[in-house]
Structures are given as structure tokens and as C-alpha cells.
């Protein structure tokens, strides 16, 4: 692989590139699912290819191919330079990269059990056992389960001398019970909706999730929702569980801090950001207890945004994003970091695969837990009147990341420190900074979970990326509740 990278970089340099990097990526995945007692899908996939990214005539070019023969690699590199020269026809200024010390390194996701070493039979048996538990509850009309494993091995080399071999593993699992009755479809998911929980870990994650043990309870809630009252409309205090808060962080903090969005580079598709450059170190993003980091380092945990190096060879870092409520940092790359007056990339450039250009992606964007011991039950006990919402059902936010609306699978009315009734169809909405400034309590570390979002879409062509979001259940004051059903 090193030879192939060198062939590419030599040709790129000879053709006039002032900078070049090559990524050879080997990806392997396994996707297993069941539906109502039968295997829904059983698929293995592998993909191997190479991309070459260059700067020539001061502009970017990128080409990728499945052909790893010497002639194929050299043709790909030459094509990348040709594309860069075409880019140079429409430019305002030359691309400048922040300096980065070349690295020679090996890095692998720490994992106890290679997920591909577990037999397919064992995996399917587990899913069918969960399925059976879900459908043992009368009223469940559809049960879906899934297990997913990924292995991405990458060789990165640059014309500056970096040579990095990195292997990442990720594992995901979850399930959903649906109940259709009358004029309603209700559902409950575990441990999260839309694919469950995902982490950069081995098969040990599956045991930790206790999938079978939680299935009946989840199915019972799906059916019980049909008899629950509809969530009221109005201004309420709300408590969000950690998985819903993880998605709230993703949408209303993670995306707006992407510096490429801020600089207008995503304006045609993903959108821009309300976090214009004048907001840095001046905007009160949240209340004093809001501390958010973008942390790709191993010590933050096994999030989908954990790695050794990003896809332009910059080591994993921790960037303070919100510090005691003050907005303090963006997600940056070697090309964009100049815009905020800094001279080193935050290390967030990642690509979906070998044939996609790395772009700024969230790493692990996490709300740090409260410092004083506070369990979820203690938080509820200390709340006079509120609605507790669990597990995302719908999510939407505008293209500058101001106005959002989320729906959850289940809600609970809290009165005088106790859960008094189940509520169906809970939703809430608001404006990002008003929302984060209303946060007045965060549970402590033992309630904190590093959630994985495996399906974040961005870029043209669109790339899907996994991101991590640590969160503990938290309380927000005076939030607009129920507008999703307003007028219906």
C-alpha cells in the first residue's frame, strides 16, 4: 500500500501539484436485521480503493478509483491534478494549508472482541430472541432488530511526509417495537431510535447493551402509548433523556460550529450557520453550566468521532466549544482554520470512504456532565412540574440552525417530583441559543452516555458519517411544547 501511495504522490508532484495526499481505504461491513420473526437482511460488503487529493495552481483537485494497479494509481493522480487545474479557472485566492508536522504512526480502535469473529448464527439467534420478546407482548404489530459491524482500514500518506496506518472498528445494535391500533402508529426503540446505539468498539458493546433484558419493557411501552393522553401544548419545563439530548447537541451545536458551514462552503445544501465569526468568544451560547467539547481523543470514550488522526493526518484533539456558557471554538481543518486567526487545524476532516473527499465533520461533540452528584431520579424528584421526554422520533432544524423542532417516542408528566402519567406524541421546539440558555440542571457522570449517530449527512455528493455525542439527562426551563400537532 505504501508503494501505491508513493506512485500517486510522485505523479502528482511531477504534474505540478504543490501538495498531495493519498488515502487507500479497505472497508468491510456486516448488516443483519430481523423483522417479525424472520431475517430481514443478511449482507456482507467490502470495498477497496484509493483517492488522491492535490493542490495545483492554488486550487483543489480530487480523483478516486478502484484500480490499484500502478498504471491505475498513476492515472488517478494525474486526473486529480487535471481536475485541480480546472478548479483554478474559478478561484478568488490560492488555497493555503495551516502547517502540520508530518506523522508516521499506527493506530487501531481499542476493542476486546473483533465483531467479525462472532458467528452469524450467534448474531441471528440474539436478534430473533429479542424479536420473540418484543412480539410476546399483545398489541405489538411489528418488531424490527438490527446488528451492524464496520471495519475501516486506511493508509494515509502525504507529500509532506506523513505515513499513517489506521484501523477503526464500530459496532451498532438496536430494535423497535411498533403498535398499530385505531388511527395511530406508536413505537418504542431501544437503546435509541434509528439504529440503536453505535460506538467505536468491538462486540463487547453488544453485551453491555443488555438487548434481550430490555425488550419486553420497551414493547409494553409501545402498546401502552395508545392509552396515554396526548402531550399538552404550551410552555413547560422539560427534562430530556441523554439520547434525545445527544441529538439536540448534534443538531443545534455540532452542525453550527462546523467552520466550512460558517464560511459559506455548504450554503447550497447543508446550509450556513448563525455562528458568524464575530460570535467567537462573545456569544452567550448557553447558561453558565453549559460546557461542550469537541473531543476526538481516546480518553473521551469510544464515540463514533474517536480516532487517532483525521483524514488529512492531523492528530485527534479536544477543542472547547462552549465554556461556562460562552462560545469558544469551531470545528476546523487545515484550509479553514486561518479564518479564526489560528494556525493549527482542529483535526476534524473525515471522508465516508476511499472515493469521497474529506470534509469537516463532527468528532465527539459532548455536553460535559454536571459536577455535583445528580441522578435522573434525583433530578425528577427536584422538579415541581415538567415533561420528561425520551428517545427521538422526529427532528428538524433550519439551515442556519436557529429554529428546531423535535418529537420523542414517549413522555411523562412530572408533578411534585413524581412521574404521574405517560404522555404520547411529545414534541418541543425553540431557538438554539434561547434553549441552551434555559438549561438549569445536568445529571452527573454516572448518568452520562456517549451516544453514536451513525447517519449524519453532509456534503455534495452527500457523505454519511458517524459522530459521537456525550450527554446526561438535563432540565430546561420554559420550553415551547406540543407545536408539532398545533393546528392538526
Amino acid at each position: 500500500m505504501k508503494d501505491a501511495a508513493n506512485w500517486a504522490l510522485n505523479v502528482a508532484t511531477l504534474r505540478g501539484a504543490s501538495y498531495g495526499d493519498a488515502r487507500i481505504v479497505s472497508q468491510r461491513s456486516r448488516a443483519l436485521s430481523t423483522k417479525n420473526g424472520k431475517v430481514g437482511s443478511a449482507a456482507d460488503a467490502e470495498s477497496l480503493g484509493m483517492s488522491v487529493r492535490v493542490i495545483a495552481n492554488g486550487a483543489w483537485g480530487f480523483a478516486a478509483s478502484e484500480d490499484l494497479s500502478r498504471s491505475g494509481v498513476e492515472a488517478t493522480a494525474a486526473r486529480a491534478v487535471e481536475v485541480a487545474c480546472a478548479s483554478a479557472r474559478v478561484k478568488q485566492k490560492d488555497v493555503q494549508l495551516a502547517p502540520e508536522k508530518p506523522v508516521i504512526a499506527e493506530w487501531t480502535t481499542p476493542h476486546a472482541i473483533n465483531p467479525f469473529s462472532i458467528s452469524v448464527e450467534q448474531n441471528i439467534d440474539l436478534l430473533l430472541k429479542v424479536d420473540s420478546e418484543l412480539r410476546s407482548i399483545a398489541g405489538v404489530t411489528l418488531a424490527e432488530t438490527n446488528l451492524n459491524f464496520h471495519r475501516d482500514e486506511q493508509w494515509f500518506a502525504s507529500s509532506e511526509g506523513s505515513d499513517i496506518h489506521q484501523t477503526k472498528y464500530s459496532t451498532g445494535a438496536g430494535y423497535t417495537a411498533y403498535a398499530f391500533a385505531g388511527n395511530e402508529i406508536q413505537k418504542r426503540s431501544y437503546p435509541n431510535s434509528y439504529g440503536g446505539q453505535w460506538q467505536n468498539k468491538g462486540y463487547e458493546l453488544i453485551d453491555e447493551l443488555q438487548l434481550v433484558q430490555n425488550a419486553r419493557h420497551i414493547a409494553e411501552e409501545a402498546v401502552a402509548l395508545h392509552h396515554a393522553d396526548r402531550c399538552p401544548e404550551g410552555a413547560f419545563d422539560i427534562i430530556l433523556d441523554s439520547s434525545q439530548l445527544g441529538l439536540q447537541i448534534h443538531e443545534s451545536i455540532g452542525h453550527p460550529i462546523e467552520l466550512d458551514r460558517v464560511l459559506g462552503m455548504e450554503a447550497n445544501f447543508a446550509g450556513t450557520s448563525f455562528l458568524t465569526l464575530d460570535k467567537l468568544r462573545t456569544l452567550r451560547y448557553g447558561s453558565d453550566i453549559v460546557n461542550v467539547v469537541a473531543d476526538a481523543r481516546q480518553e473521551h470514550g469510544p464515540g463514533l468521532g474517536t480516532f487517532g488522526f483525521d483524514d488529512e493526518g492531523v492528530p485527534a484533539q479536544c477543542t472547547p466549544i462552549i465554556t461556562q456558557g460562552l462560545f469558544t471554538g469551531y470545528l476546523s481543518s487545515r484550509e479553514t482554520v486561518h479564518a479564526i486567526g489560528e494556525n493549527r487545524s482542529g483535526g476534524t476532516l473525515r471522508a465516508e470512504g476511499w472515493n469521497r473527499l474529506p470534509i469537516i465533520r463532527m468528532t465527539n461533540i459532548s455536553l460535559l456532565p454536571g459536577e455535583k452528584p445528580l441522578s435522573l431520579e434525583q433530578l425528577i424528584a427536584s422538579t415541581d412540574r415538567a415533561i420528561f421526554m425520551q428517545t427521538n422520533r422526529s427532528w428538524s432544524i433550519d439551515d442556519k440552525r436557529f429554529n428546531f423542532q423535535f418529537g420523542c417516542e414517549i413522555g411523562w408528566e412530572i408533578k411534585n417530583g413524581k412521574r404521574v402519567r405517560m404522555l404520547k406524541n411529545p414534541s418541543y421546539s425553540g431557538i438554539t441559543t434561547e434553549f441552551w440558555n434555559s438549561l438549569d440542571a445536568i445529571c452527573s457522570r454516572d448518568e452520562w452516555t456517549l451516544w453514536g449517530t451513525p447517519n449524519c449527512g453532509k456534503g455534495q455528493p452527500q457523505q454519511v458519517m458517524g459522530t459521537g455525542h456525550g450527554a446526561a439527562p438535563s432540565r430546561f426551563r420554559g420550553i415551547k411544547v406540543g407545536s408539532a400537532y398545533k393546528g392538526s
Binding site: A42, S47, S65, I124, K400, S488
Partner: protein, 465 residues
């Protein structure tokens, strides 16, 4: 790019490696290029070439799939072995059917479908990075002329899709596609246009840039008006992005799973009488291959006629299951329609070639505006998600050109709205439609859809810009 002959040769080689009762391969891929611009600069410019080979094997009632992008001997052996190993450990599925042969795959399609027009154009396949850069330069010049900033893409692709199985089925489709999307940004406003076509000569990037620029200029200094129920005119891209959220439900499997909003509603007057929708892969404005994930020819299916939901689409196995189910007498005609996804899968099938039929009295967008006393014109919708699966309430935002209409004229830009709107309600309150056109957005797949004027469209909140 891979040819049909080479693909057939790969299939012949693969068959020799397999001991399965049946084997099928799907081949897809080709060349793709995209020039991306922002801040009046080309900032990303990519090309890639890739082909995917996906092998499905079946042993009795057990089946599974493995895929690779490597076509050397070892890789072909490995992908067959992986598929077989996965298949052998499955539990037998009593609903799994033998693979279709050519006669079954083509048998029920009418002659017109068998002659789906060519969607491969040499001029599109020959687009170079230089040509894309020249077009972008023209767009940037328009931005400069109007003192705006532009961002967008110009992409081109040439792709193949093929399926072969051990019962003699062989299907092959080639296609090109060129796509342009332009955003124009002012200080406090924006405008947007997007179009694509297999034939690049159908695209006019310069005209799109001028239209997007005009929207950005006209939307400047947006005023805030309160949320509420408005007469709303959705341009075709906005209409397709919102209605696209219901078509997953036009599936036999979705009915069997009781996850469709059509459960219990097929045959009823669900929408207004002016709504008629077909799935028609052979429509001249449509794209895509004329066969499904098993190689079955896609039939032309009437989904909605004058507001009454008539039928849903079916993969082969779903149709067989439906005929044995308690729903069979409540769902209209049940037959394989050639809309299945590659097996095995959980979702079954869905219609992907949606064509709205023009009502008798179509209106131009300009006429709709001129007939509106007070309303809102929407260029584009964004981040649409389902809120309620059975009432089919979806939420989302307006974007890149939202205008107040008063007394038949555009009065100016307004701040963007959040909507929470039931698609059942919406399609029951369509007051006027334009001639359907090929349109594309970002939230749903491309379709042939009109601009629509909706009565009492439900805006629930307004954002800050």
C-alpha cells in the same frame, strides 16, 4: 465503464465458483464527477470511478448477499463464498420465491415499457472538468453582476445497472445524468434553483443562475409575518420534497407491516378529486432503470385516481404474501409490479418513478400568484421529517426564497417558516396546479410534479431570518 458483455462474463465466472441452488448478481456503478463552488470559487472538485458487484445465493428457502468492488479471481471467489456462508446459516424463509426467469420478468410488461427510451447521452458522458468549470464561471459572473455570492454544484455521471441470475435472466441499463444546483446569497436573503437531466442539453445553468439571483434580490430585507394557515404556492421542487415523504407507504410490505398511512384507506377518497398519481418508469421525463432489484420489469401503476388511492406496488414475494393475507380484499389489484428492492431486505418495495397527472385546468405559477389575495410563495423546503406516521404529518422549514403574496403580486421576502402539515390535508386542499415538470430537490427523489397552490397550509413557527 463496465459493458454488458464484460458483466455477463463475470457472471459466467462466478457461477462456476458457486454450489448454491440459485445465484444472482447485481452490478452497478460507473463514473461520477462533481464540481462544487462557494464564495464564487470552485472549492471542491471530485471525480471517481467505481463498480459494485453484489452476489445473492440461495439454498432452499435461505438467501443472503455479499458485495465487493474487486473483480479479480480471488475477490470473485471470496464474495461468492461470503454470500454462501451467510445464506447457509439463515433460517429457512417460507416466503422466499425461486429467482424469476426472463419470461416471468418481462411477461407482464406492455410493449411500451419494454421500449423505455434511452437515458444515455454521449454529450453528457463527455462532460469534462473544464466544461463544468466554464459553466461555473458563467454562474459566478451572474453573481458578480448582481453583487451576490454564489454556491452550488455541477455534476455529471455515466452509470450502469445490471442483473443476471442462474435462471437465465439478464437485464442491463445505462444512463447519464447531469445536474446543476445554484444558490445565490445576498446580505440577508437567498435564492435557489436545481435541475437535472440525462441529457445535458436540457440544462441551462445561466438561466438558473439568473432566476436564483432574482429570487435573492427580491427576497432582500425579509419581514417577519406571523405563523398561521396561509394559501401557499409550492414551486415544483418544494412540492416534490414534501409529497415524497408518503411514497414509502405505497408498498404492499408497508401494508402487511401495518406501518403505512394507507392501512385501511385504500379505495377511499383520501385526497382531492384533482389528485391523480402514477408510477411510470417509461415517462419521457423520468429516469432510472426499467427493472427492479430482482430484474422484474417495472409496470405502470395507477396509485391515486381522482383522489382515491387505488393500488400500491409489490415485489414478487410481497404480492404472494398479500394474496394469502387478511388484507387481500382491501388493497385493490395485487400483482408483482416490478418495484422490489434487492433481496433480502426488510422494506419490500416502493414506487420511485412518480408522475403527477395534470388536471384539466392547469395554471402557470404566475397565474396562481395573480389569483392569490394573500399567501406565501415557497421556493424550497428543508429538513422535512415525519411527525405522525398515520396522519402523515410532516415538519420542515422553508428556505432560499420565501415571499409574501398580496393582491396578486409578490410583495417581498418574508422570514422562513416552520410547517407541521398533514399530507392528507394538504392533498385535499390543492386549489390549483401547473403543468407537471421534472423536478428535483434534496429531501426526496426526483419526480414529475406540478407547482401546487394549497389552501390553509399550516405554518406553526417563524425563524430568525
Amino acid at each position: 465503464m463496465l459493458t454488458q458483455e464484460r458483466a455477463a462474463d463475470i457472471f459466467d465466472r462466478i457461477r462456476k465458483f458457486s454450489r448454491a441452488d440459485e445465484i444472482e448478481i447485481l452490478i452497478s456503478g460507473g463514473g461520477f464527477a462533481l464540481t462544487r463552488f462557494a464564495n464564487n470559487t470552485i472549492h471542491q472538485n471530485v471525480e471517481d470511478e467505481n463498480h459494485l458487484l453484489s452476489v445473492r445465493t440461495a439454498f432452499g428457502g435461505r438467501t443472503a448477499r455479499a458485495s465487493t468492488n474487486k473483480f479479480d479471481e480471488d475477490s470473485l471467489r471470496r464474495v461468492v463464498a461470503a454470500s454462501e456462508a451467510l445464506a447457509k446459516v439463515q433460517h429457512p424463509d417460507p416466503d422466499l420465491l425461486p429467482m424469476p426467469d426472463s419470461r416471468e420478468a418481462d411477461g407482464s410488461a406492455d410493449e411500451r415499457l419494454k421500449a423505455t427510451p434511452s437515458r444515455h447521452f454521449a454529450e453528457t458522458a463527455a462532460i469534462t472538468p473544464q466544461l463544468r468549470a466554464e459553466a461555473v464561471k458563467q454562474i459566478v459572473n451572474v453573481a458578480g453582476k448582481h453583487k451576490l455570492i454564489t454556491a452550488g454544484i455541477y455534476s455529471s455521471s455515466e452509470s450502469v445497472e445490471g442483473i443476471f441470475n442462474s435462471r437465465g435472466l439478464s437485464q442491463w441499463h445505462t444512463q447519464t445524468l447531469a445536474e446543476v444546483s445554484v444558490t445565490m446569497l445576498g446580505a440577508d436573503s437567498s435564492g435557489w434553483q436545481k435541475a437535472n437531466s440525462p441529457n445535458v442539453s436540457n440544462l441551462d445553468p445561466l438561466a438558473m443562475a439568473e432566476t436564483a439571483a432574482r429570487k435573492a434580490i427580491d427576497a432582500a430585507h425579509p419581514e417577519e409575518i406571523p405563523p398561521g394557515k396561509y394559501a401557499v404556492i409550492l414551486e415544483p421542487s418544494a412540492a416534490l420534497d414534501i409529497v415524497g415523504f408518503m411514497f414509502w407507504d405505497y408498498s404492499g410490505m408497508a401494508i402487511l407491516d401495518q406501518r403505512s398511512f394507507l392501512t385501511g384507506r385504500i379505495g377511499s377518497q383520501l385526497f382531492g378529486e384533482n389528485i391523480t398519481i402514477w408510477d411510470d418508469v417509461s415517462h419521457p421525463l423520468q429516469t432510472g432503470s426499467p427493472f427492479d432489484g430482482e430484474g422484474m420489469r417495472r409496470l405502470r401503476v395507477p396509485l391515486v385516481e381522482h383522489g382515491v388511492v387505488k393500488r400500491v406496488v409489490y415485489a414478487r414475494a410481497t404480492a404472494a404474501r398479500m394474496k394469502k393475507s387478511g388484507f387481500k380484499d382491501k388493497v385493490g389489484l395485487v400483482e408483482p409490479t416490478g418495484h422490489g428492492f434487492p433481496l433480502p431486505n426488510e422494506m419490500g418495495e416502493m414506487p420511485l418513478n412518480i408522475v403527477f397527472v395534470a388536471p384539466q385546468n392547469t395554471q402557470s405559477l404566475e397565474h396562481m400568484i395573480s389569483c392569490t389575495e394573500r399567501g406565501v410563495l415557497v421556493t424550497r423546503l428543508w429538513y422535512i421529517r415525519e411527525v405522525d406516521p398515520y396522519e402523515k404529518i410532516v415538519t420542515g422549514m422553508t428556505r432560499d426564497g420565501t415571499f409574501l403574496i398580496e393582491n396578486g403580486r409578490l410583495r417581498g421576502g418574508v422570514r422562513n417558516f416552520r410547517f407541521n402539515e398533514s399530507l392528507i390535508h394538504m392533498l385535499s386542499h390543492v386549489e390549483a396546479m401547473s403543468v407537471p415538470v421534472r423536478a428535483c430537490g434534496e429531501e426526496s427523489f426526483d419526480m414529475v410534479v406540478p407547482a401546487m397552490k394549497i389552501r390553509d397550509f399550516n405554518f406553526t413557527e417563524v425563524t430568525k431570518f
